[in-house]
Amino acid sequence: MAKRIDVKDLDIYYGDFKAVEGVSLTVEPRSVTAFIGPSGCGKSTVLRTLNRMHEVIPGGRVEGKVALDDQDLYASSMDPVAVRRTVGMVFQRPNPFPTMSIRDNVAAGLKLNGVKNKKRLDEVVEASLKGANLWNEVKDRLDKPGAGLSGGQQQRLCIARAIAVEPQVLLMDEPCSALDPISTLAIEDLINDLKSQYTIVIVTHNMQQAARVSDQTAFFNLKATGQPGRLVEVDDTQRIFSNPSEKATEDYISGRFG
């Protein structure tokens, strides 16, 4: 079910500002890739091009190629709405829908896309909440508002919501940055479980987290402020953390960085 992502010579713009330049990388199916790098180097920007969320921002456009199992995501025949059904996303700040109950939040993707069968919805809600390690905590209050959960629970609710539409790929932009260490561990465990079914890309500022959860790590950097960000190197996580081929990577990982 999971798919491979191929990015080739990708340039990303905000209006006239070129934010990211010349990114090429491959993400294997059923693997976890971590994006690391200093603030402002374009990690979120690259991530958002993988499900065509970048163009939601006025003036946002890309040049280059992003393919999902050889299907060009930016082909003119490609519907961005369909792309986003295939490539799910979890955001930095948990953002459950405030008008909806826990159940409706998880079912939102299906319901809003026209699934009405109540039995099917209930099954999906249960499976997704179990998949997101949240079922036991909320099974007795599925009709309570989703915004009433703790931050860590809300983030897992958002993960459940994302996997309920059965995407092929899951993108996560600093999913743990607003969470305590215990919730963070819960989500890292979850990422490890999800890996067997999904292709996962995660942005993180936490080196240990990148080392713990990912198979492959991509290091992004800025040449100078105001210049576009670029991909410095991408390699097996083990190699990046033990013996990177670029000096900039080594400096960043060992903390000898600006």
Binding site: R84, M89, A162
Partner: protein, 308 residues
């Protein structure tokens, strides 16, 4: 490391209780300004309150007893002259409510959709022009709206003066308030919710219908009701476009229609007590209806679907 530990081990400094002087003292000038600002604000508030209390008080005193009579809510002014007591305000209450309802039916869809366009879709030239037009509409005096509809409806098309034309004029006054208040409410919906919905593969229009509008629903309704309350008190377009009648008339295409503002206007220069009582009664009734609308708006605000 070593420097830190030496600092930690050094003998504690002699302590003195801090005085105001340690913080630079509280300057007499600042305290004075604080007092002055406080007095000014309270003063302004009380001055603003005076006309409000005065109007409410005198309307209640002079018109209150009218509202206690059963006839007031059960009869029209049919066959009643200025020197005769009796009769009611049903014709005017009905007229005001009917016109308000039809005005709302026309203005709300147009106003809400315009706001959705401006907030969710509007970019570039067209959006700027629309926004500018709404600004201009906001500033139009009601008599100009009335005369404009008269010019179009009667002079240009040659139709009769009709209550429905009043609704058109009131619509011109209500649309800008609905657009502006709805816009504010839509802008309050965090962008993250829209993005969360897009990321689930939900199309934009569905995101607006199912996420954005439900999230801001109570605010939108409150804004609509407040706008409606404002429009209900307008008089000029009514005088121009739909002459007053004392009998019950509920047909928007029937020519005459009594309303509360025109009922007030009808007898306002009378000196006979029965007529004066009716003027104050009608004024109080109008205030009461608008007050109830406000309460309703606030109640709906409480029953918001946004839960936490």
């Amino acid at each position: 490391m070593s420097t830190v530990s030496t600092v930690g081990e050094s003998a504690p400094r002699a302590r003195t209780t801090p005085t105001n002087d340690d913080f630079g003292g509280r300057s007499g000038g600042r305290a004075f300004k604080d007092q002055l600002a406080r007095i000014l604000m309270w003063g302004a508030f009380l001055i603003a309150l005076i006309p409000l209390v005065w109007i409410l008080g005198s309307t209640l005193l002079k018109g209150g007893h009218m509202l206690l009579e059963a006839d007031w809510w059960g009869k029209s002014q049919a066959g009643i002259t200025a020197r005769r007591e009796g009769g009611g305000a049903v014709h005017a209450i009905q007229g005001t409510l009917i016109q308000a309802l039809v005005t709302a039916l026309i203005s709300v869809p147009i106003g809400v959709l315009t706001a959705v366009y401006l907030v969710e879709y509007g970019r570039g030239r067209l959006a700027r022009v629309v926004s500018f037009m709404v600004d201009i509409l906001t500033g139009i005096p009601s008599i100009v709206a009335g005369l404009f509809i008269y010019a179009v409806w009667v002079t240009t098309f040659g139709f009769q003066r009709l209550p429905i034309a009043v609704c058109f004029a009131l619509t011109m006054l209500m649309i800008p308030t609905v657009v502006r208040s709805t816009e504010e409410m839509l802008k309050l919906v965090p962008n993250e919710l829209r993005e969360a919905s897009y990321a689930l593969g939900v199309p934009k229009w569905k995101t607006i219908m199912k996420i954005v509008i439900p999230t801001s629903f109570s605010g939108i309704v409150t804004g609509i009701l407040l706008g409606l309350a404002r429009v209900m008190g307008e008089t000029a377009p009514l005088l121009i476009l739909a002459p007053y009648t004392k009998v019950i008339a509920t047909d928007l295409f029937g020519g005459l229609m009594g309303t509360l503002p025109t009922m007030i206007n009808q007898d306002r220069d009378q000196t006979l007590q029965p007529a004066l009582d009716r003027v104050w009664g009608a004024a109080l009734t109008l205030i009461l209806i608008i007050f109830l609308l406000n309460i309703l708006g606030r109640l709906i605000g409480r029953f918001s679907k946004v839960k936490s």
